[in-house]
Amino acid sequence: MPEELISGPARLAPPARVAARARALLPGIELGLLALALVLPPFLEDFWVLFATRVAILSLLALSFDLVWGYAGIMSFGQALFSGMAGYCTALLATQLGVTSVFVLLGTGALVGLFVALAVAALVILGKRAPSLVFVSLGTLTGSYVVERLARGWSFVGGQNGIPSLPRLTLGRFEIAEGPMFYYLALFVLVLVYVGLRFFTRSQLGLVLAGMRQQEGRIAFFGYRLQHLKGVTFCLAGLIAGISGCLYAFHEGYVGPGQLGPVQSTQVVLYVLFGGVGTLVGAVLGVSLVDLFSYFLSQRFETAWPIVLGVLLLLIVMYRPSGLIGLLVSDRERIGSFGRGGKTGEKPR
């Protein structure tokens, strides 16, 4: 094409060498974290194994939020609602009916998360008109708040005290005790969900989500039914949150109203904003680092640590909207490529 046809700054692509180096980073970070997670527990004290288990479980919840906000552009303040409801339902199943099978309880948790998300989606997403960001945010926040208040006042589910003394999960005849065994169960589920989400977000459907995040108004004119897409993504995120809620309840041996409410939901939002939205690994990093910072800060500043942490989070959100992962990988890599084996005959520049 003659150069004179091109008006404006047309050649802004980064140098190929820099881009190629950046492209290799994300899989490297993912594999590095996985390797670390696999080999670390034998070298850790019991406290840190429990800590790492909690991080793995909360990472599932953070991934569910990353999926809805980072990929589908739905600002949900209700992820804790899905995980908490799943926690309560599986806890009741275990305490009232004596069910302890890990397969049954995880499956039930996933289904509860899915159906609660479907009910919420029917109210706030799948209306006749496309809902606004504020409407969805406030709708999910309100739902989370209302259900927390209901749980606090309902004696059947333990009221303020929640449901304590949950039995251990079982795998056949084996009990899954807190410690390395529960850690590897949580890690296995996390890796499974992560790989599934990677497949989902890197598929051609992921391309539609990426398009929706950038120009929602535009891609409706291609023929995509955006509300259906959002509904599907929201329900998938609910399912993941449900799994997280079930694991959390049985790891802690307790489920309480706090696990349903806006505080927990907001914490998940902060995890993901801190780590980096729309990258999956950013959600896992966010949970790990925020919880580590919280622990060490609380050791050093007994009363003032939430303020220090809050300022740190605020600085990240204000000055690095792409989160910590944005310091390591380029925007191009964060968005990635789509479609299995989708060779276009050219290497990305």
């Binding site: 802004l12 789509f338 276009t344």
Partner: protein, 244 residues
């Protein structure tokens, strides 16, 4: 029978009457221009046809289907495609993915999840990029294209939806004279492939490419018909003179 049949279309924003009983016919394969002074209602009419705005009254038929109240995705599936006035390519996706996104819109969610169509659509993406002189930039981010190239990419994306009627809102806005000429050359081969309804301020461009014209003024159709006939109309001259 017309491909597009607009009857008595009106659109009000509060007290402002943006469109008033507008009629419009576009035949299959026809290149039809929509012109008028600023604020005459051209873009509003185009948006009502595309589904970006809902008309206050009147009807829109595409082929045999009444699309008046359909939302944009359903209109796109019925064969309408729109290129926006303000370029709205997806800046953080590569040029290839922008076109693929438009091409795969008819696939089922399950097929998209399994990425079944990427290989099948590869040739079509490349053909469209080549047709709009973007084949050398397939892997560049769309946001890195020049303004003119972004306009072409938008037209390629709109065409990727395989429309029977392509709506172009100011396709040459902000282009250099060379780019404008090239755009005309790129649109000409679409004749016979789909009908075109073009809103444009550049009357020279409209004169070169369109078979027929509709002129709007203050939300009303003041003239419609073959190019030469409309150009000779005194009402049209008056409408433009009134707006200086």
């Amino acid at each position: 029978m017309s491909l597009l049949e607009v009857r008595g279309l009106g659109k009000s924003y509060g007290a402002l009457r943006a469109l008033d009983a507008a009629d419009l016919d576009v035949a299959a394969g026809e290149f039809h221009g929509l012109i008028g002074p600023n604020g005459s209602g051209k873009s509003t009419l185009l948006k009502c046809i595309a589904g970006a705005e809902m008309p206050t009254e009147g009807s829109i038929r595409l082929g045999t289907a009444d699309v008046t109240r359909l939302p944009p995705p359903e209109r796109a599936r019925a064969g309408l495609s729109l290129k926006f006035q303000i370029t709205s390519v997806l800046p953080q996706l590569c040029v290839y993915d922008n076109v693929l996104l438009a091409l795969q819109a008819g696939d089922s969610l399950f097929d998209l999840l399994l990425s079944r169509s990427r290989r099948r659509l590869d040739e079509q993406v490349k053909a469209l990029l080549s047709r709009f002189r973007l084949d050398g930039r397939a892997q560049d981010l769309a946001g890195h294209l020049s303004h003119g190239e972004q306009q072409w990419l938008e037209i390629a994306m709109a065409l990727a939806c395989r429309p029977t009627l392509l709506l172009l809102d100011e396709p040459t806005a902000g282009m250099s004279p060379q780019e404008r000429r090239a755009t005309g050359e790129l649109l000409e081969p679409l004749r016979g492939e789909c009908a075109l309804l073009i809103v444009e301020h550049d009357l020279g461009f409209i004169g070169e490419i369109c078979d027929s014209l509709t002129v709007l003024d203050q939300g009303q159709v003041v003239a419609t018909g073959p190019l030469a006939e409309v150009q000779a109309s005194e009402r049209v001259a008056q409408a433009y003179l009134n707006h200086g």
